[in-house]
Homo-oligomer: 645 residues x 2
């Protein structure tokens, strides 16, 4: 691996970054890659280690057990039987292959390469002569033919994930076999789909991102043009007759005209991320502005405190503005991942700090809640409340805890590829300097400036940055000051100065090796309230500390506290304490609360007077939301009714 | 039609009542039928007239247009083409036939009889030689065979509705052709299903009610036994492998062991109603007690203020206890109907007033909201809130108003049969007297006592009862005093005495023709609150008056009132006024409110302080919930935040 990064504008193929803009791309910043941004310890490192040592390894077994790999063998003529699993089963293999590739970029373990090559060979063997590849459609629906039901058949969806995996392989291992498969498939798609060819789009976006990445890797503008076609073909009623409303498929309004996200949440944010890639590569400012407006509307009216996206189980969909129920909030793990991908592209394009804030919120909360501390048990759905009497119903139900896999297994390999490529979201560079977006112990290398970051974030608020290499010209070091970090200070050579929350603090100077900058972020417990239009949490408050949203879980509470009735005292101070022994080490919050007994009312629950909720004083204990459901499963709440007495 | 009713214990076949217990049945009371209980005017009469003159007539056209009738023609060899519509399409025809029969019982219009006979002949012609009948399965799934997928194929569901229609025909028209079809089908089912035959149950209950009714009409105990089998076969995992959790199908727990309702709401309440029929006919007290416990749990933790049932769109299902979201509450019209059917059977069995209270609440609110004032436009879903920015998505979405029909058209003919048979739910009798459960201008005839009821209910609270015939023995007249009617009085011969809300007021005496009893129910506007465990409406209040739940609809409010932010002043008096010109005549409520401007906060909607909701004083206008969405569609709320200033 290279240790000195080339200017990303100078070459097509270096830089082990996901969503790495091409040479003509119009962005404010360029991402570092896994070769130039490396997490070296702290909060994320053990999670990435578990991801590598356990999740990715067991992922292959899961794909074997669930039949995904066997489907490829059957299609390749190397196995027998009927294909099993959902119609998009191939995509799980591709996401897992992508995770293997990024992980190899972080840690070139020959065992990873061997797994990758075995599975890649299997994928290649299953490809049709003319480039078409979808094992389930080929084997299960031969009578109906290719693309017989594109809104549901997920053929482009699988292709998009294949392309992303192929690009990751080239960038991180140099292997080009999967890239060959992907380009043959892409060439087949180019010859098949378009305004003057088959005029149709897949019901589930992701191919837009895949094609742009493939264009970046190969320079073949046909792929960029096909991505453009798929983005622009949406919103013209192509999917009206497919059994769900066009809204579900993000097909009600053209992307450029939409003012919000709607419908199936993962579909919507994948589409937006792909459209952002397109805008970046084509310098399409009006498309970028449309996407910025959609992101703002989503973030201000359709996002849970955890950064979770998607209010509805029905259709796994965004709800109406301010429809954000704690109990039935869907907040699919994959939607948080798509949200991170979208926000990252917007951040690179615009240089606006709020996108990096959004990434942080999603990463530490709605994304990370999707995987257990062990790294191998998953949540598909990430609500903000589970009641004491909640009844588990289906493998996605959070009421019975995390699962090792799902009948629809999109989330686990999606988590794997994101954790394996997380280093790529830390920082970016431009000709004039280095920008640090996420805080973790790390080595960051950019053309103008290289630094080492030391921090105990998110448990402690100090981020210490030491220059390890610098150009002789004045260079800007930009540090995101999170929007929640009122009172933050930055010290350069020991002089602490206040910096503004929600912006980048920029220090421009001629740097010397050993120069040290310290960002201090205040980590007092925050009492957080909600816009009154969010009816589901009227009168409630939540606890936050730093980037972490907290949850009150039944197992931590004093005996006799009924979480369905407990309240938080909004006017009392809350306290935090680090507990190395708990949940692999977490800072817990202790907050004053009230524990009413169950109301005496029985029968009809709508009385002529509000219920009396006076109750005994208790200390409620909150843990980081991401860490819930790692012990016994019980009631859990992020939002509790606030009382002032 | 007979005018003097026989003792229902004495004969099998008289009494035009739905769910009429047989001679061996163990009940506290026996229902009157359409021949002995007749609504003569008032609130319900014009709704029944619209049902007869418009809905039932246009229903036949709808069934023609949607293909349901053509499916029968194709199956009968009288037509060509592919079957269309959902797999349960036959059931819409049967429910409509049932509506025609009850309506003929109310009003023997020869045109109804002609329609009935034409469609019945078509149904009979489509029946297979051996009694099997399901046009869609026969025509569309011939390759897979009968009962290929019973949890989804709805063959017993269709059969159950056929049986109910056949019984209604016999009771109201004397025609026995459909009864012949139903008994041939039932005999086929008896020979096919059972513990020692094919051990399987339909995913969608209703056949349990149908079989018990068929038993009551024919005296064939095989049908009762098959109903017993279907009730007891549930809850033993027969449907675990059918793509949804057993919960969805009410198949997780045996009926006799369940402590609550769960899963698909219509399935759950139909099953419970059928089990209640079984308990009544077999005198099974332990089953009845289990059902009573389930009803109580549903009513105290899983019922909306409107009596609506089913909290979730996903699976059209009951949620966890206290999961009752106003915005996404499903509250399917069919679930309210099933709830009424269940409560009616429990009322007859137990004589407990709270079941009649429940029927009243469902009838006037969550049931009646399902049909427009015109009688021909329907709601499938009946939420308690629609936001100003709600986006319609799918034909069930209340955000775009009522629809003339649905792709899944279960609700419209279900409304038709219920409105046509509504007279049957007014009153009951026993050897010692007459019980009046629902208040409407009516003539009620029972063996011991006949009366005429005059009332302007629900607009006015006086119910005047005049004796029209009486036995010479002391006889009890029992009048339900609704649970909400604190302060009610009863006057007999002019002496008003207080009576207890939530019980039956019983006057036992030797009655003379012309004796007059007046029940006075207080109709002051009620401010209603909620159990604090119902998180979705924390801090809110609703307006009620008599049996009616009220809704605040955008179109009635002063300019500039944003219903998403409006509040009700809980401490101020509210006023009611009858408006004959509005919505076919409704009493409106005017209540003191606050109209805040939209909060200044933008962007991230979770601030460090609660939003400031001070706003200008306004008078908010509320209309009965059932009448909403009969003008322009806009925001609507039953629950609004309560403020005390």
């Amino acid at each position: 691996m290279s240790t000195a990064a080339a200017n990303p504008n100078e070459t097509l193929s270096s830089g082990q970054a996901p969503a790495r803009p091409g040479p003509q791309a119009v962005t404010t910043w360029r991402p570092l890659g896994l070769d130039t941004a490396r997490i070296t310890g702290g909060f994320w490192a053990p999670r990435q280690e578990a991801n590598a040592a356990k999740a990715i390894l067991s992922g292959r077994e899961r794909l074997e057990d669930a039949g995904n790999l066997q489907n490829f063998r059957i299609a390749a003529g190397q196995g027998e039987g009927e294909p099993i699993g959902p119609i998009f089963a191939d995509s799980d293999v591709y996401k897992w292959l992508e995770a293997v590739a990024w992980e190899y970029g972080r840690n070139p373990d020959p065992a990873l390469l061997q797994m990758q090559r075995e599975v890649t060979a299997l994928v290649a063997a299953a490809q049709c002569e003319d480039g078409y590849l979808d094992t389930v459609v080929t084997l299960r629906h031969a009578d109906r033919g290719r693309y017989f039901d594109l809104p549901w058949s997920h053929e482009h969806y699988c292709a998009g994930h294949l392309m992303q995996a192929a690009v990751a392989q080239v960038r991180c291992t140099g292997d080009r076999e999967l890239l060959g498969v992907a380009t043959r498939l892409a060439d087949h798609l180019v010859s098949t789909f378009g305004e003057d060819k088959r005029h149709d789009v897949d019901g589930h976006p992701v191919i837009e991102m895949g094609l742009v990445e493939l264009y970046r890797e190969t320079g073949n503008a046909d792929y960029l043009e096909l991505a453009r076609y798929f983005v622009d073909a949406r919103g013209h009623g192509l999917m009206e007759s497919y059994g769900k409303e066009p809204t579900y498929f993000s097909d009600r309004v053209p992307v450029r005209e939409a003012s919000s996200v709607e419908g199936h949440a993962v579909r919507a944010v994948y589409l937006a991320a792909g459209a952002a890639d397109l805008a970046i590569e084509t310098g399409d400012q009006s498309l970028l502005e449309a996407l910025a407006g959609q992101f703002d509307h989503m973030w201000s009216t359709k996002t849970f405190l955890t950064g979770g996206l998607g209010a509805r189980w029905e259709g796994e969909a965004f709800g109406d503005p301010y429809e954000l129920p704690s109990d039935r909030g869907y907040a699919e793990t994959c939607a948080a991942i798509g949200g991170i991908q979208w926000a990252w592209r917007m951040l690179l394009a615009t240089g606006e700090a709020h996108y990096a804030d959004a990434i942080e919120r999603m990463l530490f909360n709605g994304f990370l809640s999707g995987v257990s501390l062990s790294g191998t048990q998953y949540f598909y759905v990430n609500p903000l409340q589970v009641r004491g009497e909640a009844h588990p119903d289906g493998d996605r139900s959070p009421a019975h805890g995390r699962r090792g896999w799902f009948s629809c297994a999109c989330c686990p390999p999606n988590l794997m590829r994101t954790l394996a490529s997380l280093d790529g979201y830390l920082a970016s560079s431009d000709a004039g300097g280095l920008q640090i977006h996420q805080f973790a112990p790390a080595q960051l290398t950019s053309p103008a400036l290289s630094v080492e970051v030391a921090t105990e974030y998110p448990w402690q608020g100090r981020v210490a940055i030491t220059v390890t290499a610098a150009s002789p010209q004045p260079t800007a070091l930009s540090l995101r000051v999170p929007g929640w970090a009122d009172g933050a200070t930055l010290s350069v050579d020991g002089d602490a100065e206040p910096v503004t929350a929600g912006e980048y603090a920029v220090v421009e100077r001629v740097w010397s090796v050993g120069d040290r900058v310290e960002l201090d972020l205040p980590l007092a417990v925050r009492h957080t309230f909600a816009d009154p239009r969010i009816d589901a949490i009227r009168g409630c408050m939540a606890l936050e500390r730093g980037p972490l949203v907290y949850a009150v879980e039944q197992v931590d509470q004093p005996d006799g506290v009924d979480l369905d009735l407990a309240q938080l005292v909004s006017t009392a101070d809350s306290h935090s304490e680090h507990r190395a022994d708990l949940l692999d080490g977490v800072t817990v919050i202790t907050a004053a609360g009230k524990a009413p007994s169950a109301p005496k009312m029985k029968g009809w629950p709508y009385p002529a007077q509000p219920g009396d909720l006076t109750g005994r004083d208790v200390e409620l204990v909150a843990i980081p939301y991401y860490a819930w459901a790692n012990r016994e499963i019980g009631a859990m709440r992020v939002w509790l009714p606030a009382t002032s007495a």
